[in-house]
Every structure is written in structure tokens, then in C-alpha cells.
């Protein structure tokens, strides 16, 4: 896999769009699973009830990567997530998530060369305001040459 070729062909191009409905019960369940105790996250009757900042990490589009990305049969592993909240998200909101590859880079480690793919989903609310950005980092390991 040539890194420059991947960048040229796939960076910054939308490959997926999906719609999500923010459900109050899901917010409460997510918050409790995370160990949240603040009532604005765990009590739907709280006047400031809202999703915890990391809540959008649970949203997944129809595809995690572009359909024709050449991974040579390798399965990418989860290499972490980053959530960048831009607006408070409340129950009942409808969000549209648009995904594209924001970064493609390589590094070397004890196991050899690794290619990192950072899929970014930008979530827009009904006003078309950017509500949140979620980066999903995936790593593809190259089989080391012995």
C-alpha cells in the first residue's frame, strides 16, 4: 500500500452519510454505562438534560471506510476514538453524519509498518450547524518481512 496513492485517492472525500435520532433513553443508558453521576446526563427530567460529550462516539454510519480502499484483505483494528463536541446535543435531536477520511499516515513499531486511517464523521443538527466531530482511528498492520 503506497501512502501517497491512498492520500491522493481517498483523503477528504465523503464516502458515507447517515441519519441518527438522539433518544433520551439511549442518553441515560450511555451516561450510566460511562459512570456519569451528573443528573443533566442521567435524569431525563433534569431541566438541562443533554447527551454526555462523548455520546456521539456511539454513532456509526453505513460504512467505516470507503468501499474501494485497497486493504489487500487486511482487517483494520480499532486504534481509538476522539470526540470534539461543538454544540450541546439534546434528546429528540436529529443528526446527519457525513464521513470522510481525514488522515492517512504510517509509522513503524515492534511489529513492523502500520498504516493509520482516521475516519472523521461530522454531525450536523437540524439547523445544519456542526454539532460534533468524531474521529475513528483504525490501524492496518503490514505483515513483517522476516
Amino acid at each position: 500500500m503506497e501512502i501517497e496513492e491512498l492520500r491522493e485517492k481517498f483523503l477528504k472525500l465523503n464516502f458515507d452519510e447517515a441519519e441518527f435520532h438522539v433518544d433520551g433513553d439511549d442518553i441515560v443508558g450511555f451516561a450510566r454505562a460511562c459512570g456519569e453521576t451528573a443528573s443533566r446526563y442521567t435524569d431525563a427530567n433534569d431541566p438541562d438534560f443533554q447527551a454526555p460529550p462523548t455520546f456521539p462516539a456511539r454513532f456509526h454510519g453505513r460504512r467505516m471506510l470507503p468501499r474501494d480502499i485497497p486493504l489487500e484483505g487486511k482487517i483494520p483494528l480499532d486504534a481509538g476514538k476522539a470526540v470534539m463536541p461543538r454544540k450541546v446535543i439534546r434528546a429528540g435531536t436529529r443528526l446527519v453524519g457525513k464521513s470522510y477520511l481525514n488522515e492517512i499516515y504510517e509509522k513503524t513499531g515492534r511489529s513492523g509498518r502500520m498504516i493509520f486511517l482516521v475516519s472523521r464523521m461530522e454531525l450536523f443538527d437540524e439547523a445544519d450547524d456542526l454539532a460534533c466531530i468524531v474521529d475513528s482511528r483504525m490501524v492496518v498492520r503490514e505483515r513483517p518481512r522476516e
Binding site: Y105, E106, K107, T108, G109, R110, S111, G112, P144
Partner: protein, 211 residues
């Protein structure tokens, strides 16, 4: 003065520690180091300014880089804008000879790190590529290396007459200060660090089993 010469903050893609949290940890745990050097992966973090944190915690915080070569990973101390332009820091297959040559030309010092590690350390490549010219210092204590990997690094240094430094290679807060380097005089700037390394008066230290 004791400095941890190898650490990563959240600026590195795999770093999970904020610089403030390193400072807090060093003071809370009363670690016997006077500061640390941020050696972010495949880049030089010119933008961040840690002078306020350095004053607040009375610590020396310096910046350097960790780049990747055909001989494994290499720390570069004394990075300047001109050196950043001299080769592509993001390239994972830089020729070590070029990194050494350009570092020397731009007043920096290049130090192969964790040389005992598989694939990303110099020892793994010496057998097939030979001993590279121009290396004077290697990292003999690395906080992320296994005992046998540090032993291999020390054996290489002894065999080749290299001097040795120590660094934690911390990516998380609790790993800072596991290994470090003692200098006989204060080192307060990147330039002073380069001078001290060139002067050759330093000693690698490890507290791996204690932290």
C-alpha cells in the same frame, strides 16, 4: 541536573498525556528529575509554548523530535526551522546517514533510541546493514523497553564506544521519569542541551523498577 530526554504528549498520535499532567505527576510523586524533553513522533512541535508550565512547576521543558529511519527510531535534539526543512520528518524510512548529516549541519544532535528493540531499534539492523557512520550517542535506558532490550542497547554502546542517554519514552503520565540523563551543569534551553550532549559529560539513569 537530571532530564528525562524522551517523552511524548498528546501532540503525538499515540501520546495520552497532557504536559500539565506530566508536571503535576513529577511534583506529586517527588520524582528526582528537573525536567523533560518532548520528542513528538515524526514532527517538531513548534507551536506549543510550555514556558508558563515550566515556570509554574519550576521544571525545564524542552522540545525535540523522534524520527524514523532504516536503522530504527532516532531522537533529534536542537531542531531548528531550517532542520525541519532539510528532510521530511513524516517519512518512516529516512536514511540515518541523512538524519545524522543534516542534524550536524544544522547544529542538532541525532541519537538512535531504544536500539535494542525489534525492528525499530538500531541493533536489529546492524547485522544486515552494518555499523552506521557518525553515531556517537545511543539511548541505553528506555522506559518502554524490556530488560533484554536495554541490555542489547548497552552491549551495542560498549562494543562501539557510544555514549549513553536515558529517557522514559513516556506516552502516559505515570511513565514520566522512569529513565533520565544526568548532566553536571544546568541545561535550560534546547541549545544548551545540544552543547551538553556534544560535550559528552552526562550519565544515563534508570528507575524503572521503582516507579
Amino acid at each position: 541536573m537530571i532530564l528525562d530526554l524522551h517523552s511524548h504528549s498528546v501532540v503525538s498520535d499515540d501520546g495520552r498525556a497532557k504536559v500539565r499532567n506530566y508536571c503535576q505527576w513529577i511534583r506529586k510523586k517527588e520524582l528526582p528529575i528537573d525536567g523533560f524533553v518532548l520528542t513528538e513522533h515524526r514532527q517538531f512541535d513548534d507551536a506549543s509554548d510550555y514556558s508558563g508550565l515550566a515556570r509554574e512547576f519550576d521544571l525545564t521543558i524542552l522540545k525535540a523530535s523522534e524520527v524514523e529511519t532504516e536503522y530504527g527510531h532516532v531522537l533529534v535534539f536542537g531542531v531548528t526551522p531550517a532542520l525541519v526543512g532539510a528532510f521530511d520528518f513524516t517519512d518512516i524510512a529516512l536514511p540515518l546517514a541523512r538524519v545524522l548529516e543534516q542534524s550536524e549541519r544544522h547544529g542538532a544532535v541525532a541519537v538512535p533510541c531504544h536500539p535494542g528493540r525489534t525492528r525499530v531499534g538500531m541493533c536489529a539492523h546492524v547485522e544486515t546493514r552494518g555499523i552506521p557512520d557518525g553515531v556517537r550517542i545511543v539511548e541505553v535506558y528506555n522506559g518502554g523497553s524490556r530488560g533484554s532490550e536495554d541490555e542489547a542497547a548497552q552491549a551495542l554502546a560498549t562494543a562501539q564506544g557510544y555514549q549513553g542517554i536515558g529517557g522514559s519514552d513516556a506516552h502516559i503520565v505515570s511513565h514520566i521519569g522512569r529513565c533520565a540523563t544526568r548532566f553536571p551543569a544546568p541545561v535550560g534551553t534546547e541549545g544548551a542541551l545540544v552543547e551538553a550532549l556534544r560535550a559528552g559529560e552526562f550519565e544515563a539513569m534508570s528507575w524503572k523498577s521503582k516507579n
